[in-house]
């Protein structure tokens, strides 16, 4: 990736991602958080475009920006109380958490600094979806099925959890 456009795009998108992420963490309003989160997701999706993962980028937009944000919105709307605005934003482990974060950054930064990558010169094939589809249904079929089952279980689990149990409900014999 040496084209000036790609380099420029990378830095632009990186800035957008990090700015949006910081706004997510720092926003006081939960709805603002969700909206920044959506911005962040979309920026990440454009990063995927930059990385020639067009299918993944669209999946990112559809699943994260389209579905996860919406679920978050529902969560926020279902649990919002008027007194939320007054309470403190952060808990009392701010300092320790800062330390952890700094160490994480230092560690990864240090490791990356010393790393040498084996960069392949090959390009990503044009029809990514055909390759991914084929792989998903052949080599990765079992994880694929497991993921499907996971989603189903999550779906049912979420319904069961979120649905209030009737206090006087008759249990089936």
């Amino acid at each position: 990736m040496t084209s000036i456009y790609q380099v420029g795009a990378f830095w632009l998108i990186s800035l957008a991602i990090i700015f949006a992420a910081i706004m997510v963490v720092a926003s006081r309003q939960l709805v603002h958080m969700v909206l920044w989160l959506a911005v962040c997701f979309i920026a990440v999706a454009s990063m995927y475009f930059l990385l020639d993962a067009d299918y993944l980028a669209l999946v990112q937009i559809m699943v994260y920006a389209g579905a996860v944000s919406i679920m978050m919105i529902f969560g926020v709307m279902l649990t919002q109380r008027p007194d939320l605005k007054e309470c403190l934003l952060f808990n009392n482990q701010l300092k320790l958490a800062t330390l952890v974060v700094i160490v994480v950054l230092a560690l990864t930064g240090g490791l990356t600094y010393g790393a040498r990558w084996f960069v392949s010169g090959a390009t990503v094939p044009a029809d990514t979806i055909a390759h991914i589809g084929t792989l998903l249904l052949s080599k990765y079929v079992i994880p694929f099925e497991v993921a499907a089952v996971l989603l189903l279980v999550a779906l049912i689990g979420a319904i069961v959890l979120a649905k209030e149990v009737k206090p006087g409900a008759r249990s089936r014999d």
Partner: protein
């Protein structure tokens, strides 16, 4: 079949969220005027609905005490402004009953024709606005188109389209104009086809039915206990139409049926009106057939001074039982006038009907009650 009670049970157990209060009105597209419903909502489910009226209160009962009996007639127009003829009729009949005035045959027939025309016009508005409230705008225009024809006729008789002030004690203010009869006959031929069109566009529509069937169910016991009247009462299956039950004027001479509903839901209340319009057409056709010649005004004194006493008289208005209660102290002005306004009393049921239904159903239920704010607030 889901009833409100089921929904009420259900709402106790579904996802519990914070309840919140929603003011529907006084400025709202579906409240038919300045009228407010304070809704307590759980999600979109109504926990409580409190009707707040009085935004249009003009004190007509008080005004009447300062007017002569004749001068009150124009004010009655302005209560249920969609069915002014019926309001006039109720008022003058009460006075006639009080004073024992004889009304000539022709006048009675003219009154019946006017009253039924007004009933159709009023029901057309009800049907049309109901269509709008359920979301289908087109039906409203068809209803208005046909109502215009009726209003043209009424204008021809009385000079006004809505606030007619046409009836007088002892008869009507003017005889029917010559060009009226052929036109009304033509219209009576056309109307059934128009009703069929509404049935096709509105009544028969599955979405409409899904929105209204088994929604806001009113059982006959509740309806009677809450003093509901008119199409609302009959939709619940209670056969009480004053034109049949206690015929006034010359209604006993006509052959017509009282349509009755089965479920007492919004759909029935809506359908009641279309069916009643069809019956009204029948009545008008018979009245035109039998319209006698003769004077249009009976022997009534110039200055109306009813004897001391009180009188309560009811007629079947477009929205239900329209009653006038007059107290006379022998002077030319009424000592006390009270009007039993069907919209007002029917509206008292709103809170009961709405509870447990969805926000969108409030509109459906309110529309099916069919109120006129001028009448509610009087």
């Amino acid at each position: 079949m889901i009833t409100g009670t089921d929904l009420r049970d259900r709402l106790e157990h579904d996802i519990k969220t914070d309840r919140y209060v929603l003011n529907m009105g006084p400025q709202h597209p579906a409240t038919h005027g300045v009228f407010r419903v304070v809704l307590t909502l759980d999600g979109e489910v109504i926990v409580n609905a409190e009707a707040v009226c009085g935004y249009l209160h003009r004190g007509i009962e008080k005004l009447a005490e300062a007017r002569t009996y004749t001068q009150v007639i124009p004010y009655t127009d302005r209560m249920d402004y969609l069915a002014a003829m019926l309001n006039n009729l109720g008022y003058v009949q009460t006075l006639e009953k009080m004073m024992g005035v004889e009304v000539p045959e022709r006048a009675e027939y003219i009154r019946v024709i006017c009253a039924e025309l007004t009933r159709i016009a009023s029901h057309l508005i009800s049907v049309g606005t109901y269509s709008i409230e359920i979301g289908g705008i087109t039906g409203f225009f068809y209803c208005l188109r046909d109502r215009e024809k009726i209003l043209d006729l009424i204008e021809m008789i009385s000079g006004s389209r809505m606030t007619v002030s046409y009836m007088r004690v002892g008869g009507v203010s003017e005889d029917l104009p010559a060009e009226f009869l052929p036109q009304v006959k033509k219209l009576m031929k056309e109307l059934p086809a128009a009703f069929d069109e509404y049935d096709g566009l509105i009544t028969g529509n599955e979405i409409f039915q899904a929105r209204t069937k088994f929604v806001g169910v009113l059982n006959p016991e509740t309806a009677i206990n809450y003093s509901a009247s008119g199409p609302m009462l009959r939709a619940s299956g209670v056969n009480w139409d004053l034109r049949k039950a206690r015929p006034y004027s010359v209604y006993d001479r006509f052959d017509f049926e009282v349509p009755l509903g089965r479920n007492g839901d919004c759909f029935d209340r809506f359908r009641m009106r279309i069916l009643e319009m069809r019956q009204s057409v029948r009545i008008i056709e018979q009245a035109l057939e039998g319209l006698p010649e003769g004077p249009f005004m009976g022997k009534a004194p110039k200055v109306i001074k009813p004897p001391v006493g009180e009188m309560y008289h009811e007629i079947e208005g477009a929205r239900g039982i329209l009653g006038y209660y007059l107290v006379s102290d022998g002077s030319p002005k009424p000592y006390r006038m009270h009007v039993r306004r069907p919209s007002f009393i029917n509206l008292g049921l709103l809170s009961e009907l709405c509870r447990g239904w969805k926000l969108a159903d409030v509109v459906a239920i309110l529309g099916s009650v069919d109120i006129v704010l001028g009448e509610v607030d009087c």
